[in-house]
């Protein structure tokens, strides 16, 4: 069965028809073709599919698309659409080698964003807790932590 829904994604209103079985991650990827949202497990464990729903991070592989009708989503593509003007978190990931293969990175960056929104000056342990829902197999997390520390410092100095 298909149902129509209305969602705002990265500030843009969309009207889409979805199969009722479709999870949010698949709608974002397959229908809106925003492929920066990745799927790593389909069980809500790895966090590669993290997006912002009404300003809070969620794992989009575990939410049915019809359930977000009328709501607001931001994906990684909404954070920067010009390579010369990345978000400070993204810039810090590039400079500090906070990513390797990049598959977990969009989710990791959005979790970092949520963390810094709530806690602009996190300690290392708080950063590690803040990204504990996002699995990375390449980096051992150390340069991710360093990137988030650097981003926090940069964002604080701009305020």
């Amino acid at each position: 069965m298909r149902v129509p829904i209305e969602v705002t994604v990265n500030g843009k209103a969309h009207r889409v028809e979805v199969d009722t079985r479709t999870v949010l991650a698949d709608m974002i990827r397959d229908q809106l073709r925003l492929t920066g949202t990745h799927v790593g497990c389909g069980t809500g464990s790895c966090g590669a599919c993290t997006v912002m729903l009404n300003g809070r991070t969620v794992k989009s592989c575990c939410i049915l698309a019809p359930d977000v009708d009328g709501q607001e989503i931001m994906t990684i593509e909404g954070l920067a659409d010009d390579p010369r003007h990345l978000h400070p978190i993204q810039e810090a990931f590039v400079v500090n080698h906070g990513l390797q293969c990049g598959y977990c990175t969009p989710g990791m960056v959005l979790s970092a964003l949520q963390l810094l929104n709530e806690n602009p000056h996190p300690a290392e342990a708080e950063i590690r807790r803040g990204i504990a829902g996002n699995l990375c197999r390449c980096t051992g997390y150390q340069f991710i932590v360093k990137s988030i520390e650097a981003a926090a410092a940069k964002m604080a100095s701009k305020k």
């Binding site: 593509e77 590039v94 080698h97 990049g102 990175t105 051992g140």
Partner: protein
Amino acid sequence: MPVRRYDQPQSQGSALKYVGAEVTAVKSRKLVAGRGQYAGDIYLDGMLHVAFLRSPHAHARIRKIDTSEARAIPGVVHVLTAEEVNRDLGPLLYTIEPEGMGAKRAQLFALPPKKVRFVGEPVAVVAAHDKYTARKAADLIEVDYESLPAVVDCEAALEPGAELIEPEWSDNLLGSRDFRSGDPDRAFAEADGVVKGTVRTHRYLGTPIEPRAYVVNYDSFEGRLTFWASTQHPHQLRACLADTLGLPEASVRVIQADVGGAFGLKTPFYPDEALIAYLAYKLGRPIKWIEERAENFLAGGHAREERLHYEAAYRKDGSVTGLRVRIIADVGAQSTLQGCWMAYVTASCIPTVYKIPNCEIRLQVAVTNKCPWTAYRGFGKEAATFLMERLMDEVAAATGIDRAAVRLRNYIQPEDFPYHQVSGSILDSGNYPAAMTRLLKMLDYDRFESEREAARKQGRRIGIGIAHELMPEGCTLPSSLISGYDGCTIRVTPSGDIKVLTGVTSPGTGNETGIAQIVADTLGADLKRIFVVQGDTEICPFGLGNFSSRSILIGGAAAREAAVDIRAKMFKVASKMLEVMPADLDAEDGQIFVKDARSHAVSFADVTRAIYRESYGPHALDFEPGLEVTRYYRTPNVYHQPQLHPFGGFSAYPSWPYGLAGCVVEVDPETGAVKILRYCYVHDSGKIVNPLLAEGNLHGGFAQGIGGAMYENLAYDENGQLRTTTFYDYTIPTAVDLPHFEVEHQETLSPFNPLGCKGVGESGIGAPLSAICSAIENALPELKLQLRETPLTPNRVWGAIERARRAGNGKA
């Protein structure tokens, strides 16, 4: 020693400006913005989606498959079973021919015609308009199985009368290998003491966050198959697909999409790859398949699970004089994957960094009813390291000599290189004592005893452990497409920009950045003008992709060879323009200048203008037009012909990087919980091209090594059912599970590589197994624990503590 060394080229390139610098990875900007293009991100018109039906049995005969219900579902386009596919497809191609390793071959098909050999083996495939429909249809296929006894223990598998897994074989032994040196019997007879036991590595896997993913399209009018893949091996995959599908190899194009981690797991040849290519070919429709996580656990390829029975003869001074090892590897069901060769690597690495004159090493490789092994970072070396490090700790305990001192006593010394090990391996270079000294300083090792006692007075049990890993790289096997050569093409455009096309690929680690750095320095070019292209069989020179840390080691060397030729030609034209001899020229930042008069210079663009626009002009007329070179590099220090080997043997690895890990842990003896407080590592991979990327890579190695040592486990039950098929029960480390890593580099250049590189990619993953065991034992010295098995879960550690207490250890 009559070992052929690489002739270190003289003045072949500019001064190193980028090599050794922390250049950020070229792809990061795109990936961090979510603009990567992974295979799953490719959408083609009319694309169908695939779902596999996989065996629920570890071992069973297939009596009958009924697909009628599945076919009846609207949206289902095709249901594929063995009967159909095996009419059209030949047996799957092995990228490593078993005969070349003295092992048995099983003829394997894309779908098993008669019986299934592990839970997760594909049995049927559905193509449908969307993945939900495909999944639903696959679940409605009815298979009538006749269950057979499952062989789940590798030693039982080798007993006479064991249930046979491969019907054409007379036993379950895939292959065996023996190495012997000196006189082990005499060494044991003359020893002051003998230690013996069994070390076990448990089964775990690479499990990249991006599962396997592919999109295939067959253009029937042109007769061309295009295969976008999350793979490490585009050219090998092309060979496999063409051979199995019966297509001309040159009509198949494999394009490596961005790869979301691989770690060895994305190496061909999976039956799944043949099946989706066949469906695209057969149906004339594009096919997409993204593996589900549970499928990755069931059928994506496993690793580890070896038993190493050992006995070692030692002298009172701590020197180990004799070693006997019997290895039994459980490689799961036979497959066309490359994993089973990891067991051979384990055997060929023993006794790692130690000089033990009398050795007897026996390997037996058993097939069982479990998921086949696929390549996984470490590639068997971690088991050799685990054994030797546990053994050194045991000799230390037996002699009362310090653990570091026992290692120093037994090390191969810097002047012994190139060193010939019992297996025929020739270790290229190293300085083990210096690395150990450095690690002990990092750890403040001498003061630890007092720290431990101080902590104990506060009721905290902390311990320190060390381990020395040996991680040979550049794997080169006979009769295979796993070899020690690779190609690189460099094209300089009319405007002086530089395109570098490589046969090596990146699994997401950033070697394209390192290769650009090497080319920039060899040419004296501006790094920003260099563009590296990888992973497309239609564009790139033939090459073997990414494995065994070869992308810089071999791919970087090939790029350097090509750049040396480009530089020579540009210098010839520039010498005409500047009216000096080519030998008087040097280059930097895209300027070619006279060494003694820097302002007397031409730019790369001036030279390429002369070559491309003024081909008949005074500066270019004497030379062949164009500015493009393809060169192949083949690493020395590999021997497949015993008559060429300096000692008459066989040697598969040219390069022998190593690392020393030291860790401090806290153990809660009441729960068995272990927390790593410090993790230090001294690393020697020869010349480091990009310290930032190399260190990032090492961190990942530590994380996977610690994950394997403490958290990850593929648990099979006695019926061959896999119990761990999600990230909830197969727990890879999160950010809170890992400590802050401290790393120091030591650079002992390889004499066998033009850059002195040895390969970084697998370093770090081997040492944690023993280092953490060692630290736990050290935290509770009164219990005299002997940890020989992983993972070091609280349950296992607590059990070991309880057994020791019950045995009366630790009583005053």
